[in-house]
């Protein structure tokens, strides 16, 4: 048998919400007296003659509901504002004062203020000075990066094989080397009196006629190509060994 302490408020709410009356007697006299009085009120109210609401009321309500949100807002605005009872405010303040937990305002106020990093100022200035460019950078940076074809990677690796360096290191190394070479090339003539070197150049003349080839070069070409037709007939009085091709070891 439960021995929970009697709570008049809870009992009375349950009593009012209950669909049927229980025969159990209330625990305290106040509740018994309350029950007698509520039953008497219910009996009196139930004995009154019922009158239907006037039809005009329904029409007025429908009209009121059809005015839309603006109209409803006017209706609501027209209602008299109800303020919370003073006892509620006093009760809330008493409960907060009694709560041992610190308020969030107190927690935040106790934190030491931190200054924003200086780079943030620069970033904000850049953003504000050219908002379109900033948006573009963020947009492009979020795009999917497609990988280069495998053949390109193989070719680059093959061309850079002797150094065995990564792409970025090689670029930096080559850039540094080029800079050093340029520096040496530019500064050295100013520093010493040794003679300078100059590379020779030559022009290349394209020929399309086999007859224009050097005879030895022609024999090599035809040998390498599998023995093309040589319109220049070999001299018949020369022994076969004299018409050689330079590759017969």
């Amino acid at each position: 048998m439960s021995t929970s302490p009697h709570n008049c408020e809870s009992f009375r709410e349950e009593h009012l919400l209950a669909s049927s009356r229980t025969a159990e007697a209330p625990a305290c006299g106040d509740c018994r007296g309350w029950i007698r009085r509520s039953d008497l009120q219910l009996g009196l109210l139930g004995s009154l003659e019922r009158h239907p609401a006037p039809l005009a009321l329904d029409a007025a309500l429908a009209d009121a509901l059809e005015v839309g949100a603006a109209g409803q807002e006017a209706l609501l605005r027209g209602l008299e504002r109800q303020s919370a009872p003073p006892a509620l405010g006093a009760r809330l303040a008493a409960e907060l004062a009694a709560d041992p937990r610190p308020s969030w305002a107190g927690i935040v106020g106790s934190l030491a203020p931190k200054a924003a990093p200086s780079v943030l100022d620069r970033l904000v200035d850049e953003e504000l000075s050219d908002p379109e460019a900033a948006v573009t950078r963020r947009f492009v940076g979020g795009l999917f990066r497609a990988r280069g074809p495998r053949g390109l990677a193989d070719r680059i690796e093959r061309d850079l094989r002797p150094s065995r360096l990564g792409g970025r290191r090689l670029t930096l190394s080559l850039g540094g080397l080029a800079a050093a070479v340029l520096l040496v090339w530019g500064v050295t003539p100013l520093l010493d009196g040794s003679p300078t070197e100059q590379r020779l150049s030559f022009t290349v003349v394209q020929v399309t006629n086999l007859d224009d080839l050097d005879p030895f070069a022609r024999s090599l070409v035809e040998g390498l190509a599998g023995g093309r037709v040589n319109p220049v007939q070999p001299a018949s009085d020369q022994p076969p060994g004299s018409v050689n091709d330079g590759g017969g070891r």
């Binding site: 399309t208 030895f216 090599l220 040998g223 093309r228 017969g248």
Partner: protein
């Protein structure tokens, strides 16, 4: 040994796809030793396998802007000890010379054809770096022999080869060479094959160009009679130095011959040294038009590099390029399957720099 190795290798290949992209991480340490063995067999077979056969050779070329082709047959013999003989049997089409003259010329080129014309893996390391080999395990019949089909492509896509390799001996019994645009540049196919030839009466090749390897420990001047130019820049498509030798042409001129390979193809750099006096030259050789002592240089404008008077000529036929000319009194020839700019750069890198006083 070759037969057992190839038999085991062929069994391992089966119908799978064998593909190696050599030179990077997919090299010898990548579990592709079988493919490397395959390539080694191809490299050594012409020198270690005795055989004979008749083969058909086709060469497509461009003369004065006109495309034409030459097709002929030849009979080949190898003794398995490095000896060989190639006897031309006559042209089928494309020849304008009388048959006897044609066979005479082809026979004179016997050594060159065997060493440089035919498909051959000439350097394993260079091959692994510059080419990729693919096989789908398909077996075809060539001259009655079971052959494995292989595809070899240079990594810069400038050349490719379709091969049929005899499974038992490793000899390439059929190949087709394609240029960068996919056109067939040359073809060879065996029409008959004898793995146990009778070499009685066969005269193996005897070199006729007095080619002698140069001794790297002895100065070139002592061996050649002149100091040859040496290229410092090689074609970018991965060529490596192979050997240096001296050869003598039909007119008795001694050339320094430097050979470079990318694993399959060969680029030659030949230097005949300073030109002899005109009285010692034979018919058909041009003499320099530049004043003596100037080395063929013309005075250039101030601040510009001096330019050579005679210039350099270039002839291109498909993937094959030849550059030749007289440079600083040195007759020079560069020849191979490289671009004109690569050979020109190679030539220029061989030239000495001029010392200009301040």
């Amino acid at each position: 040994m070759i037969r057992r190795s190839l038999g085991a290798l062929f069994g391992a290949l089966g119908l799978g796809i064998l593909s190696i992209s050599c030179g990077s991480s997919a090299g010898l340490t990548d579990g592709t030793s079988g493919a490397v063995d395959l390539i080694t067999q191809i490299q050594q077979a012409p020198y270690l396998v005795s055989h004979s056969g008749v083969r058909r050779v086709e060469s497509n070329y461009n003369l004065d802007g006109q495309n034409d082709h030459l097709v002929y047959r030849e009979e080949v013999f190898t003794d398995g000890q490095g000896g060989f003989a190639i006897n031309p049997l006559g042209a089928i089409t494309g020849a304008t010379l009388p048959a006897g003259d044609f066979q005479l010329l082809q026979k004179a080129r016997e050594g060159f054809h065997f060493r440089y014309r035919d498909f051959l893996v000439r350097d394993l390391a260079a091959f692994l770096q510059n080419y990729k080999l693919t096989s789908f395990g398909q077996v075809v019949q060539v001259a009655g022999r079971d052959c494995l089909e292989l595809s070899i492509e240079r990594k810069d896509a400038s050349l490719s080869f379709d091969l049929a390799m005899d499974v038992e001996t490793g000899l390439v019994l059929r190949y087709r060479e394609l240029d960068a645009s996919g056109h067939t540049y040359s073809k060879m196919e065996y029409e008959s094959f004898d793995p146990a030839p009778d070499l009685t009466g066969v005269t193996l090749h005897q070199p006729s160009n007095q080619e002698q390897p140069l001794d790297p420990s002895t100065p070139a001047l002592a061996q050649l009679g002149f100091q040859p130019f040496i290229p410092k820049l090689l074609p970018s498509s991965g060529f490596f130095f192979v050997e240096a030798s001296s050869v003598v042409d039909a007119l008795g001129t001694t050339w320094a011959k430097l050979s470079y390979t990318d694993g399959i193809e060969t680029v030659f750099f030949l230097d005949a040294g300073p030109r002899l006096p005109e009285s010692a030259l034979g018919v058909g050789v041009k003499s320099s038009s530049s004043p003596p002592g100037t080395g063929g240089l013309s005075g250039g404008p101030d601040g510009t590099a001096p330019e050579l008077q005679d210039g350099v000529r270039c002839f291109v036929d498909g993937p094959l390029t030849v550059v030749w000319g007289e440079v600083l009194e040195h007759r020079m020839i560069l020849l191979g399957k490289a671009t004109q700019s690569e050979l020109s750069g190679m030539l220029q890198s061989a030239l000495p720099t001029l010392q200009l006083g301040k």
